[in-house]
């Protein structure tokens, strides 16, 4: 079982494929299943630990897996989802400016649209009358600290972290250099490629 759970951690794509695999494969230590495992896990030491775990499990009672034998998730039909969000170029530009991320290629944009579509599935859930939760800490007590000085005075250590300092100040470029506009950036990218 640990074999499957480890595979789930390493490559998410493997989950849907592996979940319905019959468990007896694990018990037979034939070369076939081991090689398959090798293909999935790029690191050899995973393999080593699997073999030891497989031998350990052999000695225990029949294991009841919590992983369902058949996939339980299903594709939500398109008509249940809200209309797909169209991202105008200006909006993309604004997002890039706000978050300082780059969507230079069409692929990047397509990936973003797919991600938004994936998140649209949340709209299917009925949340009427449910108080939104924004933190898993919501029922924990917030620790209050007594107003006494306990840290600070480590200017040297902090300044060492920056390669550019002037007389105990950190150095930054002047003001806020606004991200160049889309057209300008395209020309800049072309120049840098040349």
């Amino acid at each position: 079982m640990s074999l499957f759970s480890l595979s789930a951690k390493c490559t998410c794509r493997a989950v849907s494929m592996k979940s319905h695999r019959p468990s007896f494969n694990l018990l037979t230590n034939d070369g076939y299943s081991v090689t398959k495992v090798e293909n999935l896990h790029r690191r050899n030491r995973c393999l080593q630990s699997h073999i030891t775990r497989v031998t350990r499990l052999l000695s225990s009672e029949p294991h009841h897996s919590k992983v369902p034998k058949v996939a339980t998730w299903e594709l939500i039909p398109e008509d249940q989802l809200p209309p797909p969000a169209h991202l105008p170029a200006d909006l993309v530009d604004q997002l890039e400016r706000l978050a300082l991320v780059d969507f230079p290629t069409k692929q990047g944009l397509a990936c973003l649209e797919k991600a938004i579509r994936f998140a649209d599935q949340l709209h299917v859930v009925d949340t009427s009358g449910v108080e939104p939760m924004d933190s898993v800490l919501e029922d924990r007590a917030l620790q209050l600290r007594h107003d006494a000085v306990i840290e600070g005075g480590c200017a040297e250590e902090l300044l060492q972290l920056s390669k550019n300092t002037v007389e105990e100040y950190f150095v930054a470029p002047p003001g806020n250099i606004p991200l160049p506009r889309r057209e300008e950036r395209a020309t800049m990218m072309k120049h840098s490629e040349l």
Binding site: S135, L144, E151, G152, G153, C154, Y169, F170, N176
Partner: protein, 535 residues
């Protein structure tokens, strides 16, 4: 300022004259004039005040809060937003916010939440600021302030401004712009210091009201001890949101004015901005929604380079902090809670000191002085103590002493930009001077002269100066008689007028007598003698 405007916009100058200045518009007496002119655009001002909390350590870290210290010496790993650090809330900051909220009649939210406000700037190392946008610690308060209005600007008019919310948030670091080498130097000593942001509703209409409101807020915060409220040291930062509209119509486009370093500049900046909006609209243009900086040298606002259009802060709940709970009273505390972990509103309410408005009323009640006098007393730092010290040393009535303190003393101090503690005349010296006047040794005009002399030569007592300059009242009857006789003899026309019934001319003769005696004649006696001689 109006002259400047007429130079820049000669065509508009005649239009400006028709619109009364914002200061006059605030005066309650001029309301009828506003209604008659339908083109009247009024200013709408809303303030955003950031008050630095007076605490030993910062809001979320245990590093020290001090005004001047070697750069980056008061910075903890959390303030530098190094990975692996987490925020821990300072209890003193919560108590300060609750205290301020109670003093401003706010409703305390028993459960408040923290959020992240994202924007990029070099002095904000984390790339976000922890603030309270959704549910702040307090909402719906009122700030009551007074402006001096009426004919002689001596009438105290009370105004109330609504406070939308009070929230706790982090301060950013300081950036020093080095234009020569095209770089910015960052000092993170201030990064993470606790701030109380007071968001006020746009219910003010001019710079004078805003200045009075901020002054009152300063006094309240200083009385509570939650903030030292010194604008020049950056402990109190005020941003003004200004727009204009015709009364009854929806609000116009607003601009934000930043970089205001004193209460006086606040008033000027707001008035300038209101005028600028009015001019833009008069010319048929539209006001841009932008952020402008106030330049104190020119008295104008200039657009700030760094702001690009409308900022989207992408608010998100702070995942590292659970909700902040404050308790109403000890009875509502959950069992097993540590006393030092709980903030109890009842206890804080019980510990509130005397607020300025209460103090003013108390002074009026105790000493029988006028409200505008107590206004001045509380407004100046240390003046109440000075006044009370003078009262202790003199037999004069408070109502007679107050004029000396609020007019003479304050006038001289303001002229030389001095504080009460720097006054060269001590309360006991002033008391002595007033005693001499009360006992009839000197006249009131001479007393003012002596006051000025005492100011110039600190250390000399009133009696010394009176003796040296022979300023004592001349009450010697024979001397006065001879002087009066001289005046009467040399002004037959005036005497004739008095005998015919024009009594006011007597004052002229009195003036001449006073001139002869260099103002040292006892006015009561002189009047009596002159009346006798001219009857």
């Amino acid at each position: 300022m109006n002259k400047q405007i007429s130079l820049l916009y000669p065509k508009a100058s005649c239009v400006i004259r028709r619109i009364s200045t914002p200061r006059a518009r605030c005066d309650s007496e001029l309301q009828p004039r506003a209604k008659s002119d339908p083109q009247q655009l009024v200013g709408v001002v809303g303030l955003e005040v950031h008050a630095q909390i007076n605490s030993n350590t910062k809001l979320f870290s245990g590093s020290s809060v001090r005004f001047s210290a070697p750069p980056n010496s008061l910075v903890s790993p959390f303030d530098a937003s190094l990975p692996g650090t987490l925020p821990v809330l300072n209890k003193r900051c919560v108590e300060a916010a609750v205290m301020t909220a109670l003093a401003l009649n706010c409703t305390i939210n028993k459960k408040s939440l923290f959020d992240r406000k994202h924007y990029f700037y070099a002095d904000l190392p984390a790339g976000y600021q922890i603030t309270q946008q959704r549910r702040p610690i307090a909402v719906d308060g009122t700030l009551t302030y007074s402006i001096l209005g009426g004919k002689k600007r001596s009438q105290v008019i009370r105004r109330t401004s609504t406070i939308k919310q009070i929230q706790l948030e982090q301060d950013s670091g300081k950036s020093l712009h080095d234009d020569l080498r095209s770089q910015t130097l960052i000092d993170l000593n201030r990064a993470g210091v606790g701030l109380m942001e007071l968001v006020m509703e746009p219910d003010m209409s001019c710079g004078e009201e805003a200045a009075a409101a901020v002054r009152e807020l300063q006094l309240i915060l200083q009385a509570l001890g939650t903030c030292q409220a010194n604008m020049s040291e950056g402990q109190l930062r005020v941003d003004a949101n200004v727009s204009v509209h015709k009364p009854g119509e929806p609000l116009g486009v607003r601009t934000e004015v930043k970089n205001i370093n004193s209460v006086r500049f606040l008033s000027r900046a707001i008035d300038y901005e209101i005028q600028r909006h009015i001019q833009v609209l008069q010319r048929g243009g539209t006001v841009q929604n932008e952020t402008r900086a106030f330049d104190s040298k020119s008295g104008e606002t200039i657009p700030m380079r760094d702001k690009e259009g409308l900022q989207d802060y992408r608010f998100m709940p702070e995942p590292n902090l659970p909700p902040l709970i404050v308790y109403e009273d000890n009875a509502s505390l959950p069992t097993g809670i540590d006393a030092c972990q709980a903030v109890v509103v009842q206890e804080i309410r019980a510990g509130l000191p005397e607020l300025p408005s209460i103090k003013r009323d108390r002074l009026v009640q105790t000493y029988g002085i006028l409200p505008e006098h107590s206004f001045t007393l509380v407004n100046e730092d240390g003046l109440v103590e000075y006044f009370e010290a003078v009262l202790k040393a003199t037999t004069k009535e408070p109502r007679k002493v107050i004029g000396w303190v609020t007019n003479e003393l304050v006038g001289h101090l303001k002229q030389r930009d001095m504080s009460v503690s720097q006054s060269p005349i001590s309360p006991s010296a002033l008391a002595e001077l007033l005693e001499r006047q009360e006992s009839g040794h000197i006249s009131s005009s001479v007393a003012k002269q002596v006051f000025q002399e005492m100011w110039r030569s600190p250390g000399k007592t009133a009696s010394q100066i009176i003796q040296e300059q022979d300023l004592g009242l001349v009450s010697d009857a024979t001397q006065l008689h001879s002087i009066c006789q001289k005046v009467v003899d040399s002004h037959p026309v005036e005497v004739h007028a008095i005998r015919n019934g024009n009594k006011k001319v007597l004052n002229k003769l009195m003036g001449l007598v006073q001139k002869e005696t260099k103002g040292r004649a006892d006015p009561v006696l002189v009047r009596a003698i002159l009346q006798e001689k001219t009857s």
